[in-house]
């Protein structure tokens, strides 16, 4: 909590000190208004907070994806998956695919990256991720969809939990489900504890939305938010 507050303060100071205007943003750091819900103070950014920096391998393109390279250029959606999670992780990838389709239809395909980070890199090599993306009809050659693969599970969890603040742990055999009381499709005992969540981050690296009820959020609402951010 303290660390989070500290980071938040540093972030705010850094932004306040940034005088140049980003087209479309005006004097604000965000395109979207704060979320309606105000009684919620999670450990991860929700709106107006800097998204933590990252540098993670894209195994399909065989190159490192760095937040510093995206910042100033493009906005992004980021979510967290592992391919042996057969059920709703697929929904997350399908969601990104639907946004990808909209991006091409509406012409913002160069303004938005779609990022799906695995936190089971031991299982999820390039081949597994490609197969998974194809299953959900993602255009993997378009250049705007990327799987991100940290080198080790520890690195993945370290960033997701430690830096981003989304609770995630490795191995917890007695308790490693999604909290969904009727989905128990777990393939190995050390599956990470997983939270379905998606972040929308603007071209300045500032979090616009944390979709914590992502499975219940109408895809149309996400597309509307995305269009509001890239537009």
């Amino acid at each position: 909590m303290h660390r989070r507050t500290y980071l938040g303060a540093v972030g705010a100071a850094a932004i306040a000190g940034c005088v140049e205007r980003v087209p479309g943003l005006g004097d604000s750091n965000t395109h979207l208004r704060p979320p309606d819900r105000t009684d919620w103070q999670p450990s991860h950014p929700i709106h107006g907070d800097p998204f933590p920096s990252f540098a993670v391998q894209d195994p399909l393109a065989d190159e490192e994806v760095r937040s510093a390279d995206i910042e100033g250029e493009r906005s992004f959606l980021m979510t967290f998956i592992y391919t042996s999670c057969e059920e709703q992780c697929g929904t997350l990838v399908r969601l990104l695919q639907v946004v990808q389709e909209d991006a091409f239809e509406e012409g913002y395909e160069d303004d938005l990256d779609l990022l799906a980070m695995t936190f089971d890199p031991d299982t999820d090599d390039a081949a597994a991720l490609r197969e998974y993306g194809e299953r959900f009809e993602v255009d993997l050659d378009a250049g705007n969809f990327r799987f991100l693969r940290p080198s080790t599970p520890e690195e993945a969890i370290g960033w997701i939990d430690g830096e981003l603040g989304v609770p995630a742990t490795l191995g917890d055999p007695g308790h490693h489900d999604h909290g969904d009381d009727d989905d128990h499709d777990h393939h190995h005992a050390d599956s990470p504890l997983h939270y379905y969540i998606m972040f929308l981050v603007n071209e300045r690296g500032i979090t616009e939305r944390a979709y914590y009820q992502i499975l219940e959020t109408p895809p149309a609402d996400i597309i509307e938010d995305v269009q509001g951010v890239v537009g």
């Binding site: 009684d39 919620w40 999670p42 299953r135 603040g165 009727d182 989905d183 914590y212 895809p219």
Partner: protein, 175 residues
């Protein structure tokens, strides 16, 4: 009720931001007031289901929409429950199952075979362009209940039992 309390409890604790609550779903009065205009979707020829174009939600009839996918195991588990609920509710609501899977990925024959394996006997449609499901959820299974005017009265993701489905329909559908 316990689920609602759990959601409140988690939110109140302000710890989790994730799917632990995401999969539980909204119900009843949390649902934004929305009226769905009927959209034309392709029917799939299968047991209890005809091909051709079908308007969904069914105009002038309450409709229970089941968003499913043939690859979804929770959907498989839910099918006997859905079938039993359908047998009890078929006079009250029209059941329509909709898959967002594209025909190139899963063709009609495969869907019809799946339907027989899991003993479905009501209308199935395909929403390849997601013009309908995009307003609800791509997560499967998701149930959405519309009244005869297309107004949404209930939506929930995750597999349900027969009695949960019957209860959802009877308690949320206006007289």
């Amino acid at each position: 009720m316990r689920r609602r309390d759990l959601i409140a409890g988690i939110a109140g604790a302000a710890v989790l931001g994730g799917g632990a609550i995401g999969a539980l779903g909204l119900s009843g009065d949390d649902q934004p007031d929305r009226t769905q205009e009927a959209v034309a979707l392709a029917g799939i020829e299968a047991t209890g289901s005809t091909g051709g174009t079908l308007k969904v939600p069914i105009p002038d009839r309450p409709t229970f929409l089941d968003i499913f996918a043939t690859t979804c195991r929770s959907c498989q588990r839910q099918m006997p429950e859905l079938r039993a609920a359908h047998d009890r509710l078929s006079d009250e609501v029209a059941f329509v199952s909709v898959t967002p899977e594209s025909e190139s990925a899963v063709d009609d024959t495969t869907v019809a075979e799946w339907w027989d394996v899991y003993d479905g006997n009501w209308q199935i449609v395909r929403d390849e362009t997601r013009q309908l499901v995009i307003h609800y959820s791509l997560a499967t299974p998701t149930g959405v209940l519309f009244d005869a005017d297309g107004r949404v009265h209930w939506q929930d993701t995750g597999s349900k039992t027969e009695s949960e489905i019957v209860e959802a329909v009877r308690s949320n559908l206006p007289e």
